[in-house]
Symmetry: C2
Subunit: 138 residues, 2 copies
């Protein structure tokens, strides 16, 4: 595992990263805690929060501040977009090309130094589309 300088390679960090890499579901800190606890039952929730935060700061993982009350985490650090189901709150990746040219459009109309952007789509996931059709029948 490639870590940042000044970060020790602890069992806890290793397993948090392994478990996060296993899924594509963008889990919340608490969901990561549940996943990790199956292998490290005595780990503290604070440790999970501390390490997710540290890894996100170090660019090892991505912290998503998308809709909903909790932050979500993603082991894929390459820039990509997300979609959130308005009905069930699930978050999925959107595998489209990153639209870097829009940074220039923003730079043209803003006095900020533009660092980057993130797009969050909203929609209805396949499962929820099906549930909606079912309930429309009744």
């Amino acid at each position: 595992m490639e870590q940042l300088p000044n970060m020790r390679l602890t069992t806890q960090r290793q397993i948090i990263l392994e478990e996060l890499a296993k899924v594509t579901s963008h889990p919340t800190a608490n969901e990561v805690y549940d996943m990790v606890r199956k292998r490290l039952p005595r780990i503290g929730l604070g440790t999970v929060y501390r390490n997710l935060e540290l890894m996100a700061d170090g660019g090892v993982i991505l912290k998503l501040e998308v809709g909903g009350t909790q932050k979500r985490f993603d082991a894929t650090v390459e820039p990509h977009y997300h979609i959130r189901c308005s009905s069930c709150g699930k978050v999925d990746d959107v595998h489209m090309k990153v639209q870097d040219q829009i940074n220039q459009l923003a730079a043209n109309v803003s006095n900020y130094e533009i660092l980057g952007h993130h797009i969050e789509f909203s929609g209805i996931c396949h499962d929820c589309q099906i549930s909606q059709k079912k309930s429309a029948i009744n």
Copy 2:
């Protein structure tokens, strides 16, 4: 004030909406509470939360779930983008054209029914650019 059906026009709602419309700073619920309290000292924080939520549901205002811990609110409901200062956390509008064509790009690669999108830029605001230059000298 045009409200949704089944919503009474109360003094509290009126003033919350007026105060929100006065600013372009995308205040948090607590900041709205502080603003409103100057005119209605006995209003409860719960009332502010309840009404901001209701108005956002009804499309009278916009609820922003951008980076940072707290939700922010915006009296401008026309679709537009935002930029958040990575240094101080301030949120500003980005007055560029809405890129509706990217919804189609997302629809092409996703099995979600796309409803819309929001772009959040990140950058360094003008004030923070100046502070950074000052501290670079020392």
